[in-house]
C-alpha cells in the first residue's frame, strides 16, 4: 500500500455536519472576543501568533471531524493537540503554565498512543485506513479483539474528553490558556473526543456488547460526581469552570453510553433518543461553557484576578458581563426555560425510559445513573450560585475589584450572542431536537417516522408508548413570566408603593459594614465540605495571634482538601517511575562518548566478522 497516496476525501454525513456547525458556532464568537481580549494584554507579535494558532486550531478541529481516513484523523488530531498545548503555555513567563502544559502534553500523548494502537489493530483486519473499509472489516473481527480495540479507544478518547480518572490534566490546562481559547478548548475541543467515541465505537466498531455501554455509563457517573464536587469547592473561577466541564462531559456520555446499551438490547428507538439527548447536551454545553469562560476572561481582563475570594460586587461596574454570566450559570444549572434544562431533562428521561424498558440489574443500574444525574444537577446549581454570587454580588473584596470597569463592546457582544443562543436553544428545543434526531437516525441507519419525539413544533415527547411525559419549554417560559408578573402585581396591590430605603448590599440596615462581612466562596462551600468529607478528606488549620489571653489580634484559617486521584494514583505512578529510573541509572555511565563507542565497536565487530555469520 502506498502511504503517500492517501485518500483526502472528506465526509459530510449528518454527524460531521453537526460537529462542523458546533465548532464554527462556538469558535467565531470566541475569535471576535479575542480581538478585545488580546489587546493591551500581549505584544503585537504575540497577538499575531495567537491568531495564527487560532486559525490552525479551528482548522485542525474541522479536519478532525470531517476526514474519512483514520491516518489523516490521527494527523489532524495531533495538530489539534499540539496547537492547544502551545496555547496552554502561551503565558511563557508563568511557571504554572509550563507545568500545566507538560502535564497536558504527556496525558494527551498517552491518550493518542492508545488511539494509534487501536487504529493499527483495526488496520490489521481492514488493510486500509478508510472508515468504510474499517467498518466492513469490523464485522469480521473476533469478539476479544473488538473488546481490546474498544478499551483502547475509550482510554484514548477518554483522556481527551477528561473522563475521571484520566481527567487530571484538564483542570490545570484549560485555565492556563487565554480565556477565548479556554472557551474553545472546553466548549469544542474536548467534544471532538465525543465525536471520536461516536464515530469509532458506535459507527465503525458497532456497539453490540452490553458491558461497553455500561462501562461508559459508570465512567460518566463517576465523572459527573467527581467533576462537580471539585468544582464546588474550587475558588479559582476558571478552574471551577474546567472541573464543571468534567461534569458536563459525564452528562454527555450518559446519553452516548445509554444509546450503546439500548442498541445492544435491541431498542433502536431509545438508542436514537439517547444519542440525540447526548448530542443536544453536547451543543448546549459548548455554548454555555464558552460563554462562561468568556465571562471569566472579562473578569480577568478587568481585574487581573481569577480568585473569586478577591472579587465581588462586579455586577455594578460590569453589568453586561454579569448578565451574560448569569444566563450562562442558569443554563449550566439546568434552570428552565434555558437550553441546559432541556437537555438534562431529556437525559433523565432517557435513563428513566431505560429503567422501564430493561429488566433486572440493568433497570436498577439505570435508576442509579438517573439518581447520580439528579444529584449532579443539584450540586451544579449550588456550584454556580457560588460562582456567580461570590464574583458579582456583595461588596468588592480587593482593590482591583473595586476599580473594575466594563470591558470593551467587542468583548461583550460575543457574550450577548452566546446568551441569545442559549435562549434560542431553550425555546426552540423541539425543532432542534427533531434535527438532532435525524443525525442519530442516520448514524444508526434507521429512517422512520415513528422515531418522532416531538408533537407539534413546541413540545418534546420522548417516547409515547410507556411514559407520557412531555416538555414544552416555550410554555414554561410563558408560565414563568406570567407568575412573575402576577407576583409583582400582587406585591404592588397589597403592599402598595411603599417607601424604598436604599442601602449598601447585604447590610440589612446595619450602619457600618464592609466586604469582610460578606459571604466568601470558601464559606459557601463549607456545608458541602462537611457533607462530603469522606471524599474531600479535608484538613483544617487555625492559627490565632493573641496580644493577651482575651484579645485575639488576628486569626488565620487554612483549609485544604486531599486531591484523591492525584495522591493515590498519579503520585504513586510518578514515584515508582522515578524509583525505577534511579535503579536503572546504575547501569548508565552518562558519557556520550562511551555510548557512541559501543555502537562503533558493534559496527567494527560486524564488519570484521561478517563472513562468520
Amino acid at each position: 500500500m502506498n502511504l503517500l497516496n492517501l485518500n483526502f476525501s472528506l465526509i459530510f454525513d449528518p454527524l460531521s455536519q453537526f460537529f462542523v456547525f458546533l465548532i464554527l458556532l462556538v469558535s467565531i464568537p470566541c475569535a471576535v472576543y479575542s480581538i478585545g481580549y488580546l489587546k493591551h494584554h500581549y505584544s503585537s507579535k504575540k497577538i499575531l501568533l495567537a491568531w495564527f494558532l487560532l486559525v490552525l486550531f479551528v482548522g485542525s478541529m474541522l479536519m478532525v471531524v470531517t476526514v474519512s481516513n483514520a491516518l489523516l484523523f490521527l494527523i489532524f488530531w495531533e495538530i489539534m493537540s499540539l496547537v492547544s498545548f502551545f496555547f496552554v503555555v502561551f503565558d511563557t513567563e508563568d511557571k504554572k503554565s509550563i507545568k500545566a502544559g507538560i502535564l497536558y502534553i504527556i496525558m494527551t500523548h498517552l491518550g493518542t498512543a492508545f488511539i494509534v494502537f487501536s487504529f493499527l489493530l483495526m488496520f490489521k483486519y481492514a488493510n486500509s485506513f478508510d472508515y468504510y473499509a474499517i467498518k466492513q472489516a469490523c464485522l469480521l473481527m473476533p469478539a476479544h479483539t473488538k473488546n481490546v480495540v474498544f478499551l483502547f479507544l475509550l482510554i484514548g478518547f477518554g483522556t481527551k474528553a477528561g473522563i475521571v480518572p484520566v481527567h487530571i490534566w484538564l483542570p490545570y490546562a484549560h485555565p492556563q490558556a487565554p480565556s477565548h481559547i479556554s472557551g474553545i478548548m472546553s466548549g469544542v475541543m474536548i467534544k471532538t473526543a465525543v465525536y471520536g467515541i461516536i464515530r469509532f465505537i458506535i459507527y465503525i466498531l458497532g456497539a453490540d456488547t452490553l458491558w461497553w455501554g455500561n462501562l461508559i455509563l459508570i465512567l460518566a457517573s463517576i465523572s459527573c460526581l467527581i467533576g462537580i464536587m471539585y468544582a464546588l469547592i474550587e475558588n479559582d473561577i476558571k478552574k471551577l469552570l474546567a472541573y464543571s466541564s468534567v461534569e458536563n462531559m459525564g452528562i454527555i456520555l450518559f446519553g452516548v453510553g445509554a444509546s450503546m446499551v439500548f442498541i445492544s438490547k435491541g431498542l433502536p428507538v431509545l438508542a436514537v433518543l439517547a444519542l440525540s439527548a447526548g448530542l443536544y447536551h453536547l451543543i448546549n454545553h459548548g455554548i454555555f461553557k464558552s460563554l462562561l469562560f468568556l465571562g471569566a476572561g472579562s473578569v480577568y481582563k478587568a481585574t487581573g484576578l481569577r480568585n473569586i475570594e478577591k472579587l465581588g460586587g462586579l455586577i455594578k461596574p460590569m453589568p453586561f458581563t454579569a448578565v451574560s454570566f448569569l444566563i450562562g450559570s442558569m443554563a449550566i444549572s439546568a434552570l428552565p426555560p434555558l437550553n441546559g434544562f432541556a437537555s438534562e431533562w431529556l437525559t433523565l428521561q432517557v435513563l428513566f425510559n431505560g429503567a422501564l424498558n430493561c429488566s433486572g440489574a440493568q433497570a436498577i443500574a439505570m435508576c442509579f445513573y438517573a439518581a447520580v444525574l439528579a444529584i449532579t444537577g443539584g450540586l451544579a446549581a449550588a456550584c454556580f450560585v457560588k460562582a456567580f454570587g461570590v464574583t458579582f454580588l456583595g461588596l468588592p473584596r480587593s482593590e482591583p475589584a473595586r476599580q473594575a470597569r466594563e470591558v470593551p463592546p467587542l468583548m461583550y457582544y460575543p457574550m450577548f450572542f452566546l446568551s441569545a443562543l442559549i435562549v434560542i436553544f431553550g425555546l426552540f428545543s423541539a425543532q432542534i431536537f427533531k434535527s438532532l434526531n435525524r443525525i442519530s437516525q442516520s448514524l444508526y441507519g434507521v429512517n422512520e417516522s415513528t422515531y418522532n419525539f416531538s408533537s407539534g413544533s413546541f413540545v418534546i415527547t420522548p417516547v409515547n408508548t410507556l411514559s407520557c411525559a412531555g416538555l414544552s419549554i416555550p410554555f414554561i417560559a410563558v408560565m414563568l413570566i406570567a407568575i412573575m408578573v402576577m407576583v409583582y402585581l400582587a406585591v404592588r396591590i397589597f403592599a402598595g408603593p411603599g417607601k424604598v430605603t436604599r442601602d449598601r448590599t447585604w447590610s440589612c440596615g446595619y450602619y457600618k459594614i464592609d466586604s469582610r462581612n460578606a459571604y466568601t466562596g470558601t464559606a459557601f462551600s463549607k456545608p458541602f465540605r462537611i457533607a462530603f468529607s469522606f471524599f474531600y478528606r479535608t484538613s483544617r488549620k487555625t492559627e490565632e495571634i493573641k496580644s493577651s489571653y482575651y484579645h485575639v489580634k488576628s486569626i488565620k484559617y487554612k483549609t485544604s482538601i486531599t486531591p484523591v486521584f492525584k495522591k493515590y494514583i498519579y503520585d504513586l505512578i510518578y514515584k515508582r517511575t522515578f524509583y525505577a529510573a534511579k535503579y536503572l541509572s546504575k547501569f548508565q555511565s552518562g558519557s556520550i562518548h562511551f555510548y557512541i563507542a559501543c555502537i562503533f565497536m558493534a559496527i567494527v565487530f560486524l564488519i570484521l566478522f561478517m563472513n562468520r555469520f
Binding site: G590, H593, A597, F600, V604, I607, L608, M610
Partner: protein
C-alpha cells in the same frame, strides 16, 4: 566519478587530522561540496530530475546553511578553538587508515573482486561512516559530535549514490530535513550546555547522571 570519491576520502582523512573546530567545519563543508558535485554529475548522467533537487538541497543545506550556522554558533559562544582530542592526530590517522582497510576488506568480501570501481566507492563510503563515528567518539567538544553525525550521513548518502544511483526521493527529502532540524536542535543544545557548564566539553555531562 572515481576522482570525486578519492577526493572525498582524502577530505575525510583531513577531518581526522584537524585540531580546530573551524577546520572541522570547513572540512565538512568541502566534503559536502564534493558530494554535491557527485550528485550533480550523476543527475546529468542519468537525466534524473529528482537527483537535481537532491543536489540542490545538498548545496543549500550541507554546504550553505549548516556550516554557516555552526560557524556562527562557534563565534557566538566564544569557546577556545581546540577540539579536545583524546587521541592525537597522527595516531588518529593511523586508526582511520586501519578502519578504511577494514572497510575495504568488507567491501571486497561482499562484492567480489570483479568490479573494482564499485568496491572502491563502497569501501570509501563505509570508511567515511566509520570515521564519522570515530570523530564522535574521540573528540571532546560537542560541535564535533554534530559534525561527526553529519559526516556519517554524508557517508550513507555516498553509499546510496555510488552503489544504487539514489535513494527514493521522499526518503532523501525526509533525511535532509531531519539533518537540518538535528543540526539546529543540537546547536541550541550546545548553547544550553555552554550556559550551564560554561564549556561545551560533553565529557562533563557525566555529572548529570542522577
Amino acid at each position: 566519478m572515481n576522482l570525486l570519491v578519492i577526493i572525498i576520502f582524502v577530505l575525510t582523512l583531513m577531518l581526522v587530522l584537524s585540531k580546530r573546530t573551524v577546520a572541522l567545519i570547513n572540512g565538512f563543508m568541502l566534503q559536502s561540496f564534493c558530494l554535491f558535485v557527485l550528485a550533480l554529475t550523476r543527475a546529468v548522467w542519468a537525466k534524473d530530475s529528482e537527483l537535481y533537487v537532491v543536489a540542490a538541497l545538498i548545496l543549500l543545506l550541507k554546504v550553505g546553511l549548516i556550516p554557516y550556522f555552526l560557524r556562527w554558533m562557534v563565534k557566538k559562544i566564544k569557546i577556545d578553538d581546540n577540539l579536545g582530542l583524546s587521541i592525537n592526530p597522527m595516531l588518529s590517522l593511523v586508526i582511520a587508515v586501519l578502519l578504511s582497510f577494514f572497510s575495504y576488506l568488507f567491501a571486497e568480501r561482499i562484492m567480489g573482486l570483479q568490479n573494482k570501481p564499485d568496491v572502491a566507492a563502497f569501501s570509501v563510503s563505509l570508511s567515511v561512516i566509520l570515521i564519522g563515528i570515530f570523530i564522535m567518539v574521540f573528540r571532546m567538544k560537542a560541535v564535533a559530535q554534530v559534525i561527526g553525525l553529519l559526516v556519517i550521513e554524508n557517508g550513507s548518502f555516498l553509499t546510496a549514490v555510488a552503489l544504487c544511483g539514489s535513494i527514493p526521493f521522499f526518503v532523501e527529502i525526509a533525511i535532509f530535513f531531519d539533518i537540518f532540524v538535528f543540526a539546529i536542535i543540537l546547536g541550541i543544545f550546545i548553547f544550553r550546555i555552554n550556559k550551564l557548564f560554561t564549556h561545551i566539553d560533553i565529557d562533563k555531562l557525566k555529572t548529570l547522571r542522577g
